[in-house]
Amino acid sequence: MPSNKSVSDAPIVQFTNCRILRDHQLQREDLWVREGKILNPEKLFFDEKGSADVQLDCKDSIIAPGFIDVQINGGFGVDFSLATDDFKSGIELVSQKILSHGVTSFCPTLVTSPPSVYHQVLPQISVRNGGAHGAGILGAHLEGPFISKEKKGAHPEHCLRTFEAGAFQDLLATYGSLDCVQIVTLAPEMRRSNEVIQELTKRGICVSLGHSVANLSQAEEAVQHGATFITHLFNAMLPFHHRDPGIVGLLTSDKIPAGRRVFYGMISDGIHTNPAALRIAHRAHPKGLVLVTDAIAGMGLAPGRHTLGQQVVEIDGLNTYIAGTKTLSGSVATMDTCVRHFQEATGCSVETALEAASLHPAQLLGIEHKKGTLNYDSDADFLMLNDSLYVQATYIAGEEVWRQDALGM
């Protein structure tokens, strides 16, 4: 059918025979894409009198927005906290490989490292759109070094720092530059943290609370000063106590400023959190749950020894520990595995599971007008999944960038 489009001549693709996640529901609707964005077919029909150039039969797949991973330390042998000569090609490799896990945008995460590492690595990370070359980079997530000694987890003690002396200036000196930084995790009980949180928030950087022994009031104060995220809830923080819920209490705190929501990361690999704890968190505050992988270099590789910044970790099945200890250190789970496990453990709907990995991280970073949904005019980053939530194909800006082939590789 000849197309007669007044707005643009770019080809219009209509994805049919599918169920799309829109308005928090799976709806039997077609997905229309033009120039890398989701198109409104009604406007096309009436205003432009246009029609589709290409129609693709999706064979009854589920179409969901692409997953967004805001905490991933590396994978496939690449460690984002190691300043190697081929760092850039390392990040490219990971961004390309995670397409098969359904991740279309991510925040490469650096664990606590000496300032020299930040100074060498951060300039090599640039915010960029995804495509056939790999998932889009939204900016770096700096997890540490301004964290608590008692809750350092897998982070190296000798690199921990405070910003008592010069507050924000100390932080800036440590990192070198904040140009491509999207998220900073810090411990709010540290002196002068509120100043730092305010400065970071002013620069549009999302502040996350983690690796901390803060009590609930310290955490609430941090939120009032601008913090909006909790790094891997339950892990590396004080356990919930009924008289001082600690950071976990933020999920149901009544001191959150109006109109704001506290989000919390969960590593739902079945190991970092007992499914019962996952369910408690989900039921307490379902709209704040953000699935993250916290994946390390060993993800995607055979079990054995790998690095995590300055540390050596040992992988055995899905468990990853600091070599010779029982301290958990990141995971080797993939994002799609986390989504499936989350859905099974909580018994939640498919829509909820998918939104925890797409809509919620987009809301956290304030980019839901273009990512994390299939709303009209959003970026056309989406996935085709089967009913068991296995990714069949990944699309970025409307182009297919990965497809499950017949051999299941």
């Binding site: 059918m1 077609d30 009604e42 029909f45 009436f46």
Partner: protein, 254 residues
């Protein structure tokens, strides 16, 4: 007229849909040979409940119609009367309406031809009756001040020019209007009664809509259902049309 009485809303809708389908297929539309389907128009554009959204979500997005072949009266046109006149011209240019499908209001109006509309009226701007405004308030969050008071509508005369008219009437609240439409005389206070003078009308309704009719009327037409059902069974498809061409005669005429 043919009065088709089905048990409930879904059955009535399905019968009507099958009938329209068979009519389209038997017409053998093709390039340059358009089956012109007429439908009444309604609310202004750019409203989530607008007629455009309604038609898109319930009809156009499910079929492969070309957007150039869709003509909807534009309530935002600079010269409304010119828009109406142009609409009448477009109907002529398409070869006239083959089948007009519509419903009726509780006051017996067809399209927006409210009580008192001329039975020979053409497409024009019409002020809406209070009843209609109240009925439409639900689309505007119950705020009466937001409901449009005027609408562009095809006229009774325009619909009478169609080669066939199908009216869908369901629900007890339409029962009195149906009675006035078919058992009483032709009257401009119940504009749908004009179709008593049309050679080819089909009224499709459910049991509830017949509540004000004489038992005699209902029994008579229910008795004809065996014959009437031949209009929807067999269900034709475009692919089979070549073989069926010889069998496309109607079982009987009015």
């Amino acid at each position: 007229m043919k009065l088709i009485i089905l048990e409930n809303y879904s059955q009535a809708s399905e019968w009507a849909a099958k009938y329209i389908r068979n009519r389209i297929v038997q017409f053998e539309p093709g390039p340059g040979r358009f089956f012109t389907l007429g439908l009444p128009t309604g609310l202004p554009r750019d409203h989530p409940e607008s007629y455009h959204s309604f038609m898109w979500n319930n009809f156009f997005k499910h079929i492969d119609i070309s957007p150039e072949n869709v003509h909807i009266l534009d309530g935002n046109a600079p010269d409304l009367q010119a828009e109406c006149d142009a609409f009448e011209e477009k109907i002529k240019a398409a070869g006239g309406i083959e089948l007009f499908v519509g419903g009726i209001g509780p006051d017996g109006h067809i399209a927006f031809n409210e009580p008192g509309s001329s039975l020979v009226s053409r497409t024009r701007v019409k002020t809406l009756a209070m009843d209609t405004i109240l009925a439409n308030a639900r689309f505007f969050d119950g705020d009466l001040s937001k409901v449009p008071t005027m609408a562009l509508t095809v006229g009774v005369g325009t619909v009478m020019d169609a080669r066939e008219v199908m009216i869908l009437i369901t629900g007890a609240h339409k029962a009195f209007a149906l009675y006035k439409a078919i058992e009483d005389g032709v009257n401009h206070m119940w504009t749908v009664s004009a179709f008593q003078q049309h050679p080819n009308t089909v009224f499709v309704c459910d049991e509830d809509a017949t509540l004000e009719l004489k038992v005699k009327t209902v029994k008579y037409f229910k008795g004809l259902m065996l014959v009437h059902n031949k209009l929807v069974e067999p269900l034709y498809s475009m692919k089979e049309m070549g073989a069926e061409r010889s069998q496309s005669k109607k079982p009987y005429s009015d």
